[in-house]
């Protein structure tokens, strides 16, 4: 089992307490609303678009004033936006080098997998990789 950054671990634990998938999806919907650094629709560009997502999703990575990582994003589907939110909360303010080391299997841990499997083959994995690579570049 991987070591997750504490905020991410807390979210994972919260998901683990859910009774069934419907409840977990409900939780994802709630996180979608808590998205910390929302990318406004006017800032949705082709460059920050996540390829391979069925719905539209956009993410951008920046460094805050303390050198911490910051994930900005948004999606038109709530479940995707919920995932972005969790990731954004989970990595907020971390050194980019830690972000570069996160593995995508926290989604497995959260056990929302069944509904996300197909996306993993393209959308979610693409998004995750895009973020991880940017973090890697930032930490060099």
């Amino acid at each position: 089992m991987s070591d997750w950054p504490l905020p991410l671990q807390e979210i994972i634990d919260e998901f683990k307490e859910c009774f069934d998938r419907m409840e977990r999806l409900e939780l994802l919907f709630e996180y979608a609303k808590k998205l910390p650094h929302e990318l406004e629709t006017k800032d949705w560009t082709d460059e920050n678009r996540v390829r391979g997502c069925q719905s539209e999703a956009h993410v951008e990575c920046t460094i805050d004033e303390n050198g911490g990582f910051q994930l900005h994003g948004a999606a038109d589907a709530n479940i995707v936006q919920g995932l972005i939110a969790i990731l954004a909360i989970g990595v907020d303010g971390l050194p980019p080098s830690s972000v570069a080391n996160i593995k995508p299997d926290f989604v497995d841990e959260m056990d929302v997998k069944a509904s996300l499997t197909p996306s993993r083959a393209n959308g979610f994995m693409n998004m995750f990789e895009m973020i991880r690579q940017t973090a890697e570049q930032m930490s060099n």
């Binding site: 069934d20 998938r21 419907m22 999806l25 409900e26 919907f29 069925q54 719905s55 038109d76 589907a77 709530n78 479940i79 995707v80 069944a114 509904s115």
Partner: protein
């Protein structure tokens, strides 16, 4: 006497699968691909376990069994569609079948300035090959628009447009709207008034029609008809193009190689006659056995009953869905001719979220543009959610779907 749904369902192993939380699978994605009865799975197993061999040109026993099986699949599948065996070319599916018309027939018979008439409700398989041809050869493509209020083809526009057209390509039954086009009338008018009275050639995309309607290719009178095995209970990897033999003779080879030639020398080659000219290389042998088994299986049923069952489910379900707050239906289900497809959206829940939520209840539902972006454009949306029934779906499943959808809308809407 209606369909014996218990007996039918018992033939499909996958229908007894339970999903997360022990919920039964309710498979409502039949327009994408149907499930396979065990007779189809067994036919392919039996081929691989007893007779597997390459076909044609060999005299050993296995090759004989494989060849007989492959060729009798052609005979029986063609016959199911009312045609002699020399009318059926095996392809990998509807998409390749339409490409075969585009590469094999249209490139040999159409040229700059000729007009291909198609429609705004086509699947991409019946749009993109023509666009590529158009770019390459200057053939012009025109689209019959959809009447926005009735969601049917604008037949006035068709009657005018067809006069210039050398080739008319129309989807028999829409994979989004559930609407069946009046293909008989379209063929009739095309033959009478197409290309300034000389008659137009007609290609019918029957991918969505064949699973629930008995089609007779000869009576229908079109020149080409494309379909896929996997949408009618058969395996993936095979489909067919029906072609009138006299038209087949005017086609150039498309995919070339072994089995489609008569002689090859370093200077050039001569080709087989009939369907074999278009079936290069090792064919889809096990797949032909499987599709044959699907056709045999379907032949036991009264296709009129299948059609009524499927379209009734769609009609009743779409009516109930309309009364769920925020749900909007895209399509028509009030006609006898409609299929089992119901497209819909919720005013605030994104289609993809809907599908995820429905999946948590065991309901397999598709979302997206359904390979019909121009139609989406005409409907003013970028995607829809879509349920699609086939013969094994039950009223109970439909009711359970309505209940679950209602609860989702209450919770998330």
């Amino acid at each position: 006497m209606g369909l014996d749904l218990d007996a039918i369902r018992a033939d499909f192993p996958i229908l007894s699968r339970t999903m997360e939380g022990g919920r039964p699978l309710v498979y409502l994605d039949n327009a994408a691909t149907t499930q396979k009865p065990k007779q189809v799975i067994n036919a392919m197993n039996s081929f691989y376990e007893n007779s597997n061999s390459n076909v044609h040109r060999a005299v050993h026993t296995l090759a004989g069994e494989a060849t007989e099986g492959y060729e009798s699949a052609r005979t029986e599948i063609a016959s199911y569609f009312g045609a002699p065996r020399d009318h059926l070319i095996f392809t990998s599916g509807t998409t390749e079948a339409i490409n075969l018309v585009a590469y094999g027939w249209a490139r040999a018979n159409l040229s700059k300035g000729d007009v291909i008439l198609t429609t705004e409700m086509e699947h991409h398989a019946d749009i993109v090959p023509w666009q590529i041809l158009s770019k390459e050869r200057g053939v012009e493509i025109r689209y019959i628009p959809l009447e926005r209020d009735t969601l049917t083809l604008d037949m006035d526009a068709f009657e005018i447009g067809v006069q210039d057209a050398s080739l008319v390509c129309v989807v028999h039954t829409s994979n989004v709207l559930g609407v069946r086009n009046n293909v008989e009338q379209i063929i009739d008018i095309s033959k009478k008034t197409g290309n300034h009275g000389k008659g137009a050639f007609v290609m019918i995309d029957a991918a969505q029609a064949a699973p629930h309607e008995k089609i007779n290719f000869i009576e229908l009178g079109c020149d080409f008809m494309a379909l896929s095995s996997h949408k009618m209970g058969g395996p993936t990897g095979i489909g067919g193009l029906f072609v009138k033999p006299e038209i087949m003779e005017t086609m150039d080879p498309f995919i070339s190689g072994g089995d489609m030639i008569e002689t090859v020398t370093l200077e050039g080659s001569t080709f087989q006659k009939g369907p074999q000219k278009f079936e290069a290389g090792t064919p889809r042998i096990a797949e032909a056995f499987g599709w044959h088994a699907a056709i045999k299986w379907l032949s036991q049923l009264d296709m009129q009953l299948v059609h009524e069952h499927v379209s009734n489910l769609a009609r009743i379900t779409s009516e109930k869905m309309s009364s769920i707050p925020g749900i909007k239906i895209y399509g028509r289900h009030d006609l006898d001719t409609c299929s089992g497809v119901v497209s819909f959206l919720h005013e605030s829940i994104h289609a993809e979220d809907l599908a995820h939520l429905l999946d948590s209840g065991g309901f397999a539902v598709r979302t997206g543009h359904h390979c019909a972006q121009p139609l989406m454009e005409a409907l003013g949306v970028s995607s829809t959610a879509r349920i699609s029934f086939w013969l094994y779906n039950t009223q109970e499943e439909a009711d359970a779907f309505i209940d679950y959808l209602s609860s989702i809308v209450q919770r998330f809407g």
